[in-house]
Each structure stands twice: as C-alpha cells, then as structure tokens.
C-alpha cells in the first residue's frame, strides 16, 4: 500500500475511524468494541507522525521545496487527525483526546487566521479543498463538543470559497489552490463528492448544490451501471494518483467512482447509489472471506471509503441535530 502511495495508508486509517465512529453510534451495544479499535488506530497514527515526522504520510514531492509557512505542517494530516479525534469524542468522551484535538484545532485555526486568506498548506504552497473541508468539519464538531465558537471563521472561509474557488463553467469547487487562493486545478471527482458531504455540516444548501452539480457534471449511468468521471467535460485534467487509471472513451475514474458512493449515500440519491453498487459488484471483483468483504480492484483506502459510505450518517446527524453540548 505504502509502495503505491503513503497518503492512502493514512486515509485508510481516517476513513476506518470515521466509519467505526458511525457504527458506534448506530450500535450502542457494540460501542466499546469499536472504540477499542478507533483508539488503537488513532494512537498508532499519532505515534507514527510523531516519530517519523509529517513526511511519513505524504507523497515524496512534499520534500521538493520548503513549506511557505514555518514550522511545516500539513492540513491533510492535521485536518483528518482532528476529525478522527472529534468523531471518537462524539461517540464517547476521552479526556486525553480532548487535549489532543484542541491542540490540533488551535494549530489549524491559527494558520488560517494568520494567513491573509483563511487557507492552509497540505503540501508546500499547495492547498486542497478535500483537506480544508475535513478540517472545517472537525472545527464544527469541536464547537459542538466544547462550546467553542468558530462560526466567524467558517463563514468567512465559505464566503471566500464561493467567491474565489468555484469553477466558472460548472459552479463546482476546485480541488487545489495556492496559499493566496490562486487555482491550481479544476473540479475533481475524487475530491468533490467528499467535499459535498463535509459541507453538510457547514452549509447544507451549498452542500446539496455542490452534490447536484457533481452528479450532473461527473455522475453517469450506462445500461444500469453507474460510474463517475474525474473531470467535467469543460476541464481537461491529467490522470493522476487521485483519479487512478481512467478508462478511455467513457472516462471512468476508479477514484471518483469510489468517492461517489459517499456523495450518493450522504444525499440519499438511491438510484445513483444502486447503479454504482451494480458496477462495483460487476467490475470491482469482490472477494468474500471469513465473513469479510473487500474489492480486489480497489485497495485499503477504497474499501474503507466504501465502508464509510455504507455506514455514514449518525455522526453528522448527531452534530447537526443538537445544539452545542
């Protein structure tokens, strides 16, 4: 896994923790079993980051030049770890994690507020929408858990994103940009489905708008088989590590199609979800063993993202339906 992409090692952990948190909320009787696994993953991930440094979970090009803001931090890591800690604490409070989460959130907020625009780097002078929305979701849950108030930051980020980070032709949020907010890329399927889901915590209407646009621009169904493109027709982007290999002509992207499950599940788009499931069963080569299921055509992060799509809901609902604790 790490031989292909060290990021996937990290994201597989994140999606698994978020999934188990949702399962813990769904099945209170089995909560302690899920929490034990969650804690083990969080502790090991934090230990690896501490011992090996932030580059351990990043792609090699992170070392090509220094981060603009020093000391170097990656919002990719801070945002997802903060969201892991936050999700765990929604299931059940753990004092050690409260301190760890508060420190992460403070670091993220400080970086955003100390920059002229509220953006933070994941890679040197490279900011990712996916990472920002995960970080904002973690901040939102932190407000819910600890009675803090970052609504001004969330609103200013959202206003700026709508103004500067939207692709003109499609109305979709772009996937990456510089620390100053200059676009580096167009809208991307492997980003936007999860972004729309994350935005449900921040701005439900905008989130639904983004999902519907993504569905129109990227979602496809052919003879009952659903799939998703990585790029809309109005943007020409390269095949990369996020998109996975792209099937020519139909422009099927494994990365975007996998993440589309999360969008379709989060927005209750049952028709699209069932057509995606048909494709998964036909062409992703399921392997069932000892009561477990994985997909040979995918990988650890793909399986974890599919699990997340299958069980997501309770965590977000918990935060949205109740006022701050």
């Amino acid at each position: 896994m790490r031989a292909s992409n060290a990021e996937w090692d990290f994201m597989g952990r994140s999606f698994l923790v978020w999934s188990l948190a949702n399962l813990g909320l769904r099945e209170p009787a089995a909560k302690q079993t899920y929490l034990a696994v969650i804690d083990q993953i969080i502790d090991e991930t934090a230990r690896l980051e501490h011992e090996r440094g932030l580059y351990f979970f990043l792609m090699p090009y992170a070392k090509a030049r220094p981060y603009e803001v020093q000391p170097a931090r990656s919002l990719f890591l801070d945002g997802e770890i903060a969201l892991m800690l936050a999700a765990r604490r929604v299931v059940e409070e753990k004092p050690e994690y409260k301190a760890a989460m508060t420190e992460r959130i403070k670091g993220i907020v400080d970086r955003m507020e100390n920059n002229p625009v509220p953006f933070a780097e994941s890679y040197p002078n490279e900011c990712w929408m996916f990472d920002h929305v995960n970080a904002l979701a973690a901040i939102k849950i932190a407000d819910f858990l600890d009675r803090t108030d970052h609504s001004a930051l969330l609103q200013s980020w959202l206003a700026l994103a709508k103004r500067k980070l939207v692709h003109r032709e499609t109305g979709l949020l772009i996937s990456s940009f510089t620390l100053k907010g200059e676009p580096l890329d167009g809208p991307e399927g492997s980003t936007i489905w999860m972004v729309a889901h994350g935005l449900q915590l921040i701005d439900e209407d905008f989130a639904r708008d983004q999902y519907q646009r993504a569905r129109k621009e990227l979602g496809r169904t052919l003879l009952g088989f659903g799939y998703a493109r990585e790029w809309p027709t109005s943007w020409k982007g390269p095949m990369d590590i996020d998109s996975g290999p792209i099937v020519p002509v139909l422009q099927i992207s494994a990365g975007s199609s996998g993440m589309a499950f999360i969008g379709a599940s989060a927005f209750h788009d049952d028709d699209f979800l069932s057509s995606l499931a048909a494709t998964l069963d036909f062409a992703a080569f399921p392997a069932r063993k000892n009561g477990g299921l994985r997909y040979c055509a995918g990988n650890q992060v793909g399986d974890a993202a599919l699990l997340y799509a299958a069980v997501q809901g309770p965590l977000w609902e918990n935060v949205k339906s109740r006022p701050n604790r």
């Binding site: 031989a3 996975g244 494994a254 392997a287 990988n299």
Partner: protein, 103 residues
C-alpha cells in the same frame, strides 16, 4: 495415455468450424482458461485499476500485465461465453428442425 484413448479424445474434440459443437468447445476452452486464472489468484492483480500494486515485489508492469489478462478472461466469460452457448443451442435446434424428413 494410449493411442486408442487419444483417438477417442481427438474425435470428441474435433468439430466443424462454426458448428454447435465448435461453439461449445470454444466456450469450454475459455472456461478452463478463466478457471486456471482464478485458481492462480490473478484476480488480485486487478488492483492496478485503482493504481495499486498488489505486492511491492510484483512491480507495476507485472501487476498490469496479469491484471489485464484476468480482465480479458473475465469479460470474455461474462460476455462471450453466454453468447457462444446460446448460439450453439439455437443452431442445434435449427439444424434439427430443418433436417427433419418432410411428410
């Protein structure tokens, strides 16, 4: 394998081109090839579709080659084999119908 057995096997295997038996024979060959690929674990190599090398030692080229081979056999068995079997059955029935002596 004695000569007698080989002759019987050759007779059984022999089929006229595009005859029902020929269609079934081709379907069987594809089935056997797919079974061998399945038992050999080639299904794992389809991980190349998500840009993942199944084992670091396997390397990218071998993963793509074996993965593509499995894909080819899989889609052949899913799409072509049913057509071959249906064609064999339909042709067999038509041949029987048209070769029946007229009253």
């Amino acid at each position: 394998m004695n000569a007698n057995y080989r002759q019987r096997w050759a007779r059984l295997w022999h089929a006229e081109f595009c005859s029902p038996k020929d269609f079934l024979r081709r379907a069987a060959m594809i089935g056997v090839a797919f079974l061998v690929a399945q038992i050999a674990g080639l299904r794992e190599y389809t991980s190349f579709l998500s840009g993942t090398v199944v084992w670091a030692a396997a390397g990218w080229k071998l993963t793509v080659f074996l993965g593509l081979l499995y894909l080819l056999l899989y889609f052949t068995i899913m799409l072509l084999v049913p057509i071959l079997i249906i064609a064999a059955v339909v042709q067999h029935l038509l041949l029987r119908f048209f070769s029946r002596p007229k009253c």
